[in-house]
């Protein structure tokens, strides 16, 4: 959706949404990635129905059982079924990833739009974003999560603080280009307020790069949640997030590697799906960034 397309009045009104969707569905990465993400999403939504056991149920009789026909992914040292824990883990990890995407999308857009549109605020805001980006994202998230205290909400806050600055930078870059285009001038000449111009004309046209970035933020959040849980500042146990299951299995890596292997594979499938989805979206929505 480029500015030229918006300005082009010589053709009959097109259906941009339908056209974009058609191009996305013809893109291999998007389709494969979408398929993987859809599967993980369905598993997360139906966790209560499809998990064979209660993910928190202790059963001393079946401790550290290797994968078999009953316990497909084996059991951990409490006799908890790893498959059920991974299925429920998908739910927690997707909730954390999704909430991070929402928060980062909201604040990143707000900060980036204000910086790009109201020029006197640009420098102070972006220098602050530069300062936040000077900390490695994972270290920043770890510190904030630990200082606030381990909980799902605090993990989401920590991940959002770590991912929002880069998102703000991307939104600002689009806004800077779009605000100089003729249709913005036209809207201003017609007497539209600055707020209306920003919301209805500028931001709408900056959506492409934002959506692409947020898809990658989702992937980053899933990976970071796992790392935070592994260190011990993620969602408090016994909640079965992907990272918690791996952290749990660490002490049994030698005798029961399946506790660690399977949630790791679940992370890879989820993140791979999101990355493929992001690549597809980028090629179609934001061709300048084509890799």
């Amino acid at each position: 959706m480029t500015a030229e397309a918006v300005l082009d009045l010589s053709h009959p009104p097109s259906k941009p949404f339908r056209e974009t969707l058609a191009r996305l569905l013809g893109h291999r990465s998007f389709v494969i990635g979408g398929f993987l993400v859809l599967i993980v999403l369905i598993i997360a939504l139906t966790a209560d129905l499809i998990a064979p056991f209660d993910p928190l149920r202790n059963a001393a009789r079946v401790r550290l059982r290797a994968p078999d026909s009953v316990y497909w992914f084996g059991t951990d040292h409490f006799g908890r079924d790893i498959l059920s824990r991974v299925i429920h883990g998908a739910r927690i990890s997707l909730i954390i990833g999704g909430a991070t995407v929402l928060m980062t999308g909201l604040f990143g857009t707000l900060i980036g739009a204000v910086a790009g549109f109201f020029r006197p605020l640009d420098n102070p805001i972006m220098r602050l974003m530069d300062a936040l980006m000077a900390f490695p994202a994972i270290l920043l998230a770890l510190t904030v999560a630990a200082v606030l205290g381990a909980s799902v909400v605090n993990v989401i806050i920590a991940l959002s603080i770590a991912t929002a600055p880069h998102t703000a930078r991307i939104v600002r870059a689009s806004v800077l280009v779009i605000r100089e285009l003729e249709f913005v001038e036209a809207a201003r000449a017609l007497g539209a307020s600055e707020a209306r111009i920003l919301l209805r004309h500028v931001l709408v046209n900056a959506l492409g790069p934002l959506i692409v970035r947020l898809t990658y933020v989702f992937a980053i959040a899933i990976l970071a949640e796992a790392a935070l849980s592994f260190i011990g500042v993620g969602p408090p146990p016994p909640a079965p997030s992907f990272g918690n299951i791996i952290a749990n299995g660490r002490d049994f890596m030698v005798v029961a590697p399946w506790i660690t292997i399977f949630p790791g594979l679940a992370i890879i499938v989820t993140v791979l799906g999101l990355n493929l989805l992001g690549d597809g979206l980028r090629d179609v929505l934001d061709p300048r960034m084509k890799v």
Partner: protein
């Protein structure tokens, strides 16, 4: 060039100023009294009060900030509550460990990533390209710490060819050092290799589609010559950018990987401090890591200016 340097340094200084406020300010995020949080519920009010005074939390906020700045300008990052020693010394002591790990991973990921990206770009659209890109994307999707655990089980436990963790300084034994750093360096490098491979391929494809490449081709130069003398130098800027990003990301990665492999580096120091709420080490460690990151980026920008004269004039 001088004008560029001055502007760039001034910008970096401003950001560093903000970074130092943020590093110090992390303590304001603590719900409640940081001294009480460190000591847990069992502490007497007396003990809490003493620690508050030691941390300078009894003074007004403005005073705390002034003291923090006067200290860090002298290179003093404060005293660790837990280790009861200077934060600066503790970091300096562990720095060579972290730098050697991050450095080797950086070299590994740049060499392998650029090579893979070049192969993919020259075989654009062919099965080799698709295989390399699929591999790169797969690498990007693996959690580093999980890969570390898997490597330990396979190479240290099952095959028994490498140690499960720990660190041997190169001054003690070169082979011991290489053996201790191989698995963590690989675990760290895989993700970044994928990232660099993707960026190198994109940058090269862009350059290889330009007219001067066609001219070189019609002059009858060999493909290898064109790639190395005309293609790669012109793709250097994006590759440099990515290397800067990767260097920063490796700093973050070492924090986690040091924990997996029990490597006594700066990352492990900071994690220990985070888990025990040792605030002076958290504040000092954050500031130090950010300083390293900003320095790397400054160096990358200066490299740009050397490689591409247009950058100096912007």
């Amino acid at each position: 060039m001088l004008g560029f340097l001055t502007r760039r340094l001034a910008g970096a200084f401003l950001v560093l100023l903000l970074v130092s406020v943020l590093s110090f300010g992390i303590i304001w995020l603590v719900p409640g009294d940081p001294a009480a949080v460190f000591l847990d519920a069992g502490a007497t009010p007396d003990q809490v009060e003493r620690l508050r005074r030691e941390l300078g939390l009894d003074k007004p906020l403005a005073m705390q900030v002034v003291e923090w700045y006067s200290r860090i300008l002298k290179g003093d990052l404060g005293r660790s509550i837990l280790l009861s020693r200077g934060v600066t010394e503790a970091i300096i002591e562990r720095l060579p460990v972290t730098l050697s790990l991050a450095g080797i991973s950086l070299v590994l990921s740049v060499v392998a990533g650029v090579a893979a990206g070049m192969v993919a770009a020259t075989k654009h659209g062919q099965p080799v390209d698709q295989a390399v890109m699929a591999g790169a994307l797969f690498g990007l999707s693996i959690p580093e710490f999980w890969l570390g655990l898997v490597l330990i089980v396979v190479f240290a436990v099952q095959l028994g060819v490498l140690p499960t963790g720990g660190f041997v300084p190169p001054t003690e034994s070169i082979t011991g050092w290489i053996r201790s750093i191989t698995l963590p360096a690989i675990a760290l490098a895989v993700v970044h290799m994928g990232f660099i491979a993707r960026m190198t391929r994109a940058a090269l494809l862009e350059v290889l589609s330009q007219d001067f490449i066609r001219t070189a081709d019609s002059k009858g130069l060999t493909r290898l010559h064109i790639l190395l003398r005309h293609g790669l130098p012109n793709a250097l800027i994006p590759i440099l950018t990515v290397t800067g990003i990767v260097a920063g990301s490796l700093l973050g990665g070492t924090v986690i990987i040091e924990q997996v492999f029990s490597i006594p580096g700066v990352g492990r120091l900071i994690i220990g401090a985070i888990l025990s709420r040792d605030f002076p080490v958290i504040q000092g460690g954050l500031l130090f890591v950010a300083l390293v990151y900003l320095t790397i980026n400054l160096l990358v920008d200066i490299c740009y200016a050397i490689v591409d004269p247009r950058v100096r004039l912007e």
